[in-house]
């Protein structure tokens, strides 16, 4: 029995490790390539370890690589992305929270229909929205600005955030609300005093989710931005995806890693809370 137990433990650890290799492989390729010199990349195997580590490609990608006529590296676009992500995540999460609160605790005639309508939005291929959205943004004077991008991300993120919060709040017992009502607490008081303090797990999940989605978005970024508002994914694309000139793969890979760094950091640092938040009820229903 003990022998067999040991054998199975080994199988379990073995499988987990093989899976880990599969998940890490692309990151490994990107990391090693980014610290190789171009000569080494041309000569060698792309899976081989770097012989001579150099960070020249990283500094080039950050501050001097050309992404058009401007040769400023990814730096300005990185800050554009930050300026876009913070308000977009905040607004869409806040709206999602109150929507979820209403849809679970203050239902009224037709609120289920509203929920279904908002939810259906999750499934819409966003390419459909590009041109009419462009027209609307132009009408409101928000075209090609960070404000416009924030607006688009809020509209498109509403469905997911509402879904997350609603499903989480459904799990909070109605009795709590009733008791608070008896004490004379109103709509907002209950929300801020009772519901919100209980929402940390789902807030974490939603913020991480929205942050990743918005930071990684390329489609809206490329269509609704101009030079002053261009997010980092578009900068990365301009840097790496050029049509007719010499490729510098180490710079491309370094740039890709820079673009991915914030989201990777969030997952490494907050991944634990993400899983915990899911455990706390985001997956119900």
């Amino acid at each position: 029995m003990a022998e067999q137990g040991k054998f199975w433990r080994a199988v379990v650890y073995g499988s987990l490790l093989i899976a880990a290799v599969y998940y890490l492989l692309p990151l490994y390729v990107m990391l090693t390539t980014s610290v190789k010199s171009m000569e080494e990349i041309r000569a060698g195997n792309l899976l081989s370890l770097p012989l001579d580590i150099t960070f020249a490609a990283w500094s080039k990608a950050w501050s001097t690589a050309c992404t058009g006529v401007e040769c400023t590296g990814l730096q300005p676009y990185f800050w554009n992305s930050v300026a876009m992500v913070v308000p977009a995540v905040a607004i869409s999460t806040a709206l999602g929270a109150v929507n979820g609160y209403v849809l679970s605790k203050w239902q009224f005639r037709g609120s289920e229909v509203v929920f279904a309508m908002i939810l259906f939005g999750v499934f819409i291929p966003f390419q459909v929205l590009l041109l009419p959205m462009a027209q609307t943004l132009g009408l409101f004077g928000m075209a090609n600005s960070i404000t416009g991008l924030v607006f688009v991300h809020v509209v498109c993120g509403l469905a997911s955030t509402t879904l997350f919060f609603r499903n989480y709040y459904v799990g909070i017992p109605d009795e709590l609300i009733k008791a608070a009502r008896l004490d004379g607490a109103g709509f907002w008081r209950i929300f801020f005093r009772i519901i919100l303090p209980m929402s940390t797990p789902i807030l974490t999940v939603t913020v991480i989710w929205q942050f990743t989605q918005i930071w990684n978005d390329f489609l809206f970024g490329v269509v609704f931005s101009s030079i002053d508002s261009r997010p980092i994914t578009v900068g990365l694309n301009n840097l790496a995806n050029t049509s007719t000139s010499v490729k510098e793969y180490n710079v491309d890979m370094a740039a890709a890693l820079i673009a991915a760094l914030p989201t990777i950091v969030v997952y490494v640092l907050a991944g634990k809370y993400f899983v915990r938040g899911l455990t706390a009820g985001a997956v119900k229903g």
Binding site: V98, S111, P125, M133, V155, R181, F218, T233, M253
Partner: protein, 299 residues
Amino acid sequence: MSNTNGTAHYGFAERWLPRVVLAPSFLLSLVFIYGFIAWNGYLSFTASRMLPNYEWVGLAQYEALFASERWWVAVQNLGLFAVLFIAGAMGVGIFLAILLDQKIRAEGALRTIYLYPLALSFIVTGTAWKWMLNPGLGLEKLMHDWGFTSFTFDWLVNPDYSIYTVVIAAMWQSSGFVMALFLAGLRGIDDSIIKAAQIDGASLPRIYWRIVLPALRPVFFSTLMILSHIAIKSFDLVMALTGGGPGFSSDLPATFMYQMAFTRGQMGLGAASSMMMLATVAALVVPYLYSELRSKRRG
């Protein structure tokens, strides 16, 4: 729910506040989602080329769409991709979740490793994937260098198999998320049930199969929802990995629509294809939503 009996106690503000709070989101989705869908639907009946125009052509765009070989390849691919991707990601995710649930050392690190692909877009990882799957550069070359010369892995460049490489990369991105969802579900299950079954002499696989997994039904359904929406919207993935190629063998409806509407100046055709996509989504999702909401009301 309780609100029907409760209304008597509500003041005027309390009765209208929820509606007012919900109104902005409702209006936003009404105008920006449904309004735009309607506009798009209208476009699909027009002769729009480079830019939208309003010259009515009836069903001509739909006829052109149904006559297009490329469209049917895209539809077939989506079916194949969705089934394999959902089944694959679900299988791998559940498997890893169960393994991780066995009181594993370094669980936190492994979990992060499985989860991090979700943090990356294919704009970032596309090139690395392309390299690894390319027979001349990646895995096949590595195996050949190691002496396994009969090893072949050329799916990326084979029109009959290119769609499967898209599945592999998509699974890489999403199976960790499935793992997290199911692990969360597993942690929510009372240990005493498992212990009781163990005392009764049931083997571990049997316990999982018969007791634990059935208890995770709700997790299963929400995961299915999430995965199917990822499948239908898959776009970056194909663009980065195969560009729809070789030829158009790995095209999906989303990439088809983008190409027609934006690159080729066949906006009407693109609009028609997106309406077909929406109709498919609606056919799948509306019944689910309906049953979901009904069961909630009963519960």
